[in-house]
């Protein structure tokens, strides 16, 4: 930490949560267009921030970037640069390493996988031909355990067709490699398997039924993990209706519990929510990984694009949309076309058993009241929401 400000009455970096207060002040200054204050705060943050420091320093670093771009209206350009850098260094090996390590130390993604697989297996029980449409951001790590379950649980192993929907942000070579591994693994498990990759040209919201190549005799399940938030806010209703038209037996939806949508016209409120969510996420990462973990660094860097997109890009300009909504909000949307399906006791037990295998701090919370689904909580704070729906 810098010692050059000893003349100041209170050194901001000495406070516990100095990053939060500085960042919020800066967001307010931007929203009020107080340019001298903006400059001062940006300068201070830049002094204190570091992506290699503690949580506060990291948050300061990534949020500073977004604030800077907001102030200079360079969000779109910065986003494009980040995307191109990520693409160049992105490989199957690195993606695999990061996500497998993440799943080893934290149930953040495996929670959704276990809950969804439970719902899918139950809904497709007894069917001979299965077609799972997978729109997710977890690189097919959900499917090996499902393949194993299909191979061992059922008397007659069904035929599984997997359609993976990817947007341009996921590199072609990565998906090709993943596909090959899935095919090999299915062969090893003895599950008749077919894989197709569907690439959506620009926005996920443009996915059409025709793109998916559905067949008459198959039982369809749609699996959305971190998918709906990538659909443009105004197009979400249509997208959900499109999913309904696929006549699926079940739709599983998993999303992170944060609301960057309802406040998108109020910068400071949106900023607060964004900061709240990523503070929880970064703290969770810090406590789950070893201190010098390279994988954690990669995960943190991936957040920078999302943060930038929400806080410094216009709706249409920032490239891929990434506006999260909370479980109760998604419930309201999904109720328009679907009715909720509750998770079986067995599925919930599987999730509980999963959480037991991780460090303490994680827990399960069923949704309350009119809402449906299951929450993963980290230190009693709901962080991920999983749900299942039927037409």
């Amino acid at each position: 930490m810098s010692t050059s400000r000893q003349s100041e009455p209170d050194d901001p970096s000495a406070n516990e949560k100095w990053a939060a207060s500085l960042l919020l002040d800066c967001a307010k200054a931007i929203s009020e267009k107080d340019s001298s204050k903006i400059h001062q705060l940006l300068w201070m943050l830049n002094e204190l921030a570091s992506p290699y420091g503690d949580c506060d320093q990291k948050l300061a670093s990534y949020f500073l970037q977004a604030l800077f771009c907001k102030a200079t209206e360079s969000g779109e350009r910065c986003y494009k640069t980040l995307v191109s850098v990520a693409e160049k260094s992105h490989s199957f090996e690195s993606a695999r390493k990061v996500i497998l390590k993440f799943q080893e130390v934290s149930p953040w993604t495996t929670f959704g996988h276990v809950a969804s697989n439970g719902a899918i297996l139950e809904a497709l029980e007894g069917e001979a031909k299965l077609h799972i449409i997978d729109i997710s951001n977890t690189y097919c790590t959900q499917w090996p355990t499902l393949l194993e379950a299909l191979a061992t649980r059922s008397d007659e192993t069904p035929h599984l067709r997997l359609t993976v929907v990817v947007t341009v942000s996921m590199g072609g070579s990565v998906m090709k490699e993943i596909g090959q591994r899935m095919e090999k693994f299915a062969r090893l498990m003895g599950v008749p398997f077919e894989l197709q990759v569907v690439r959506v040209a620009s926005q996920l919201g443009e996915l059409k039924e025709e793109d998916l190549g559905l067949r008459e005799d198959e039982a369809v399940a749609v699996n959305c993990i971190g998918a709906l938030r990538r659909v443009g806010v105004e197009e979400r209703g249509d997208f959900i209706r499109m999913l309904c038209n696929l006549r699926p037996r079940v739709v599983t939806v998993v999303e992170e519990e944060a609301d960057f949508t309802s406040t998108r016209s109020e910068y400071v409120k949106c900023f607060e929510e964004c900061l709240r969510f990523y503070t929880v996420f970064f703290e969770m990462l810090e406590e789950s990984f070893a201190p010098t973990s390279n994988e954690r660094l990669m995960l943190e860097r991936e957040c920078s694009r999302s943060i930038l997109s929400v806080l410094a890009c216009d709706e249409d300009g920032g490239g891929e949309c990434d506006r999260r909504e909370k479980g109760s909000q998604w419930c309201a949307r999904l109720m328009e076309a679907f009715s909720p399906m509750s998770f079986s006791d067995d599925a919930i037990d599987d999730v509980r058993a999963l959480l037991k295998r991780y460090r303490s701090g994680w827990s399960l919370l069923p949704a309350q009241g009119d809402d449906s689904g299951l929450y993963l909580t980290w230190k009693d704070e709901p962080v991920v929401w999983a749900s299942a729906w039927k037409p």
Binding site: R77, G190, R301
Partner: protein, 391 residues
Amino acid sequence: MFPSGTMSNSTSMSEEASVSSDTRAHDYNNSMGSLCTPISPPYHQQQQQEPQPKAKKKRSQPGNPDPDAEVIALSPKTLMATNRFVCEICNKGFQRDQNLQLHRRGHNLPWKLRQRSSKEGVRKRVYVCPESSCIHHHPSRALGDLTGIKKHYSRKHGEKKWKCEKCSKRYAVHSDWKAHVKTCGTREYRCDCGTLFSRKDSFITHRAFCDALAEESARLMAATTDAAAATAMTTSISHPLLHHPLFLPFSSCDYLPNPNPNPNCNTSPYQVKPHNPLPSLLHHLPTTISPYLSATMHPLPTTRSATISTAAGGQMGSSMFDAGDPSAWQRSDRLTRDFLGAAAGDTGEEGLLSLTGALGLDLVTAASCDRGDHAKHFVGFPPVTGTWGDC
């Protein structure tokens, strides 16, 4: 518990059918009560009686019930009942009448253990499942012993009352549950690459993406085409600066579970580790293998694999140099990758270096050029290094 070979069942009439667990002919009064309804006595069997001592009768093949046997259909209530033989003194329940009789001895009550006398015309009994949708409902799929049908009914159609705490697996039969709990969590899973797992789900997920799986398939394919082997062993580029030393399929740095980095990895990045995973490739013959896979297996080309490794080692050895020279790394990199048949035209180091170094500056200067007065203030910003942009 006495071996049923030396005891015969009591012939006293009890309301429910009581049989011992082996398939020998029993002596029963024909009036078995309402609970025992022979479905169809298709044939009449002449039972040959063996003289004492009885030779142990062979168990018939599973799935092939004796066509001459008498088919018994017991009610669900009978099948689920336990401890039907109750001591009149202390109300202790027993599964078998023999056990009750022996218990009665303790109360100084009259007890009677009858030798099982085989009469002419006594037929072997087989049991069908009362559940009409069950495959064992049909006499051709009847099960040969009472304990078997009872356990089957419980497992398939009964309530799973026993649950494993660790993995939440459910069991209807107490002994099944007990057997599972003994081994649950104690079992370790080992991947072909050498990594050990205590959790089945993380083992499965790892296995599906593990290079060892890819290599195994590559080996099989190598029997048909040379090119296939070379291509399959190619790895995608892992930047030497950011990650481990050049990630070769032969380098197991990633997979070693021990925390200390392997000395080979540190000192000579390009030295091929002679042991792992090649020996596992050579020795590995899949034990649990799906019929599909085994049908396509070809004799292993062990000599070919060995040749590749030594050749690679030779190549590596000849290009040893100071590890600090980046251009040298790249040369060796290219050598290796060409040898392995890697696609040319990968980015290599210099692309990424220029990006990381220049990115932050790019951002600042771009901003200052575009906006007039406003941005001038930001020129004074300390140049942000690659901390923001690189991924």
